[in-house]
């Protein structure tokens, strides 16, 4: 119990709407009631203490009348600053796939969802709020791009893994002793402290996030039309892509979100396959407003609104109701009826694309095509010596080496460790995201042909924005996602398992290009580019400069790996076309 923290918590709860929520609340007694809230480590933790930070890794900020980990979802609105994947990867034990991170600048009315930690000395996102959804749970058509509007419904949580006590507190009596938690003010950490001292005055910098969402609506403004099950360049419109799903991966699973009294218990708990989502998308409909482009002069007609279904095959297709709301800033109010059965079945995963605009609308739109023809892997970012030696183990009888003898009936022989091939690269053109295919076997420099075409309509004043995010996989992401600590340790053994966990993916560098009108790089007709990524991992050996490397150990004895980055080049052509 920390009295100062308690009173800070009370004071913050009475602050007016719109003020940032105090990150100290994450570890307040009120938050920790019934196993809620976050749990912090000593000021100078050991590695084992870090388990405390993921026990749980995400805690509901306001459980309301529920018991943790359950909470009511919130709805927030904002403008997207950046969307990307987590280049290094994440903790596989509580993830089924890497996180996609969308950084949002929230509307003024929603600033109360932002925490003091989002804007403090550890607010790397500059006061923005992150919306995080596992890549495997979030289809690319609904990923956002810079400048898009986003409405999100989901879990408003503390990111417990990043407490960042700064400035630290001091012990209540021995005030020269810095601290983060009360244990820092007791023996053996503080030999001079008196019995019963507490840690007071610490400032925590936990971030608030929407993690995971259960529904998003992403609105972009450009020239769109729906054609043959895909969106192409058309007249000025807004395009809103909707994805609704209770499947939030680890961050949305009851088992993963349940606090354990002893964090070491996490090493023995099996939550996979995840089967207890906390979200219920049928409890209410998903409602949001679509901003319309400015009404063309002398056009008294209502807007044209068309909704296209993108629900996975075989699942109920929720109905969409749209209502035009006229005014100085006209909008379309949308209700996706997830609470209503469709032919007797409630919707679960729902996808929609809604195109709204005025007809006629004479606003000029420039029709562009971006054709990605190849990705040239300059440095595959693969270590010469794999982090974990290749081994084969039976799927159940995990102690059995199946390279020597066949597994018992019904078991499979798993290949573990060894070289980890593969890259993952996502490329957006003005918020239209695609995954570059055929990169799963990349293990050496190679040019992989691509056949991706982005067809888009750009409005005067907008730019053509090409932006990629990705990484070169290594052991953690290549092999451990979806495996609990227990399963991973059982399969790999302690040291190889810990080594694999410790071997994160490698940064392939930044690719972020803006091209202005009127030709957007096309030269008026068509132009081709080969653009290298900037920064990231990898380079060449210090003396044997023709030899590529990821780490020093890849180079001849006595040499080091000189970082250059630029691990790949993208080959693409920009073409300016007449609007169809």
């Amino acid at each position: 119990m920390r009295p100062t923290l308690f009173f800070v918590a009370l004071a913050t709860l009475s602050t007016p709407a719109g003020a940032f929520i105090d990150s100290n609340l994450a570890v307040s007694p009120g938050a920790q009631a019934s196993g809620g809230g976050c749990y912090a480590t000593p000021l100078v933790p050991g590695l084992l203490d870090m388990l405390t930070l993921v026990d749980p890794e995400w805690a509901a900020i306001d459980v309301g009348s529920h018991l943790p980990p359950f909470s009511d979802p919130i709805t927030l609105h904002g403008t997207v600053a950046l969307a990307k994947i987590n280049e290094g990867g994440d903790l596989p034990a509580d993830h089924e796939s890497d996180d996609q991170n969308t950084f949002i600048t929230l509307d003024a009315a929603d600033q109360g969802f932002v925490a003091t930690g989002n804007v403090g000395p550890h607010g790397e996102d500059g006061g923005q709020l992150e919306v995080e959804w596992e890549i495997g749970k979030y289809p690319l058509f609904a990923w956002a791009g810079r400048g898009d509007r986003l409405t999100g419904v989901g879990r408003w949580i503390w990111d417990c893994g990043h407490p960042d006590p700064d400035p630290p507190g001091s012990c209540s009596v021995t005030m020269t002793q810095p601290c983060a938690i009360d244990a820092d003010c007791a023996s053996p950490t503080c030999s001079g402290c008196t019995s019963g001292e507490t840690c007071v005055g610490v400032t925590w910098n936990y971030h608030s996030e929407l993690h995971p969402p259960q529904a998003v609506a992403v609105t972009r403004t450009g020239g769109y039309k729906h054609f043959a099950h895909e969106v192409r360049a058309g007249h000025r419109s807004t395009r809103t892509d909707v994805w609704i799903s209770p499947d939030g991966g680890g961050a949305g699973d009851t088992c993963e979100l349940t606090h354990q009294a002893n964090p070491f218990s996490l090493l023995g708990i099996e939550c996979h396959p995840l089967s207890h989502p906390v979200a219920n998308v049928n409890a209410s409909d998903f409602t949001f407003d679509i901003p319309l482009p400015p009404r063309p002069p002398n056009n008294p007609r209502p807007p044209r609104v068309r909704a296209f279904d993108r629900t996975p095959n075989g699942l109920p297709r929720a109905k969409v109701l749209t209502t035009f709301v006229d005014g100085p800033a006209p909008t379309v109010h949308v209700v996706v009826k997830t609470s209503a059965p469709v032919h007797g079945r409630l919707p679960s995963k729902v996808g929609k694309t809604i195109i709204a605009g005025w007809r006629p609308d004479p606003t000029p739109v420039t029709h562009l095509q971006v054709a990605v023809t190849a990705i040239e892997i300059v440095n595959a970012l693969k270590p010469v010596t794999p982090a974990v030696a290749l081994m084969q183990r039976c799927s159940v009888t995990t102690s059995q080496d199946c390279s020597m003898s066949a597994c018992p009936t019904g078991e499979s022989c798993l290949t573990l460790g060894g070289p980890i091939p593969g890259w993952t690269v996502f490329l957006e053109v003005n918020g239209d995201w695609r995954a570059l295919p055929d990169l799963g076997t990349v293990s050496a420099p190679v040019t992989v042909p691509q056949n991706l075409t982005y067809d888009l309509g750009v409005l005067t004043g907008d730019t053509l924005h090409l932006h990629a995010t990705g990484h070169s996989l290594d052991c953690r992401e290549g092999q451990l996602y979806g495996l609990s600590f227990q399963r991973a340790l059982s399969l790999y053994g302690f040291f190889p398992g810990a080594t694999c966990l410790n071997t994160e993916s490698h940064n392939i560098g930044t690719f972020d290009v803006d091209l202005a009108g009127p030709d957007y790089g096309s030269g008026g007709t068509s132009a081709s580019f080969v653009t290298p990524s900037v920064g990231g991992n990898g380079g060449h050996c210090s003396a044997t400069t023709s030899q590529l490397c990821l780490v020093d150990a890849d180079c001849p004895s006595g040499e080091s790996c000189v970082g250059t980055g630029g691990a790949y080049k993208l080959h693409y052509t920009i073409t300016k076309l007449p609007l169809r």
Partner: protein, 110 residues
């Protein structure tokens, strides 16, 4: 005489210990290097036939990864091993993980 002194320093068990506080203060200095540290065992955790445990020296502690079974909590040990970096979670938000000591040998300490 001087050579004998240096040779004695290099013998196992006679080499001077590195302070855990020194490692915590500038961990990158020690990455990949062999060190001997002295401390009291906390949080001894068996993992199959192997183990992890914390070694505390006053205010600070260092997590040890060991191929051996865990020592008893409260035991005072001298542990020799190699300092390694840890990146076991998401490092995209500038999270620093504590370094670890991979044990090669241990012996009782006074």
């Amino acid at each position: 005489m001087r050579a004998l002194f240096i040779a004695l320093l290099m013998l196992p068990g006679i080499a001077s210990a590195t302070g855990i506080a020194d490692i915590i203060a500038s961990p990158d200095t020690y990455v990949g290097k062999s060190v001997t540290v002295v401390g009291t065992v906390e949080n001894a955790l068996p993992i199959g036939p192997e183990s992890m445990f914390d070694l505390r020296d006053g205010r600070v502690k260092l997590t040890v990864m060991s191929h051996a079974s865990p020592p008893a909590a409260g035991t005072r040990l001298s542990v020799t091993g190699t300092i390694r970096e840890a990146h076991v979670g998401d490092t995209g938000e500038n999270r620093d993980f504590p370094h670890v000591l991979v044990e090669s040998s241990r012996s009782p300490a006074p």
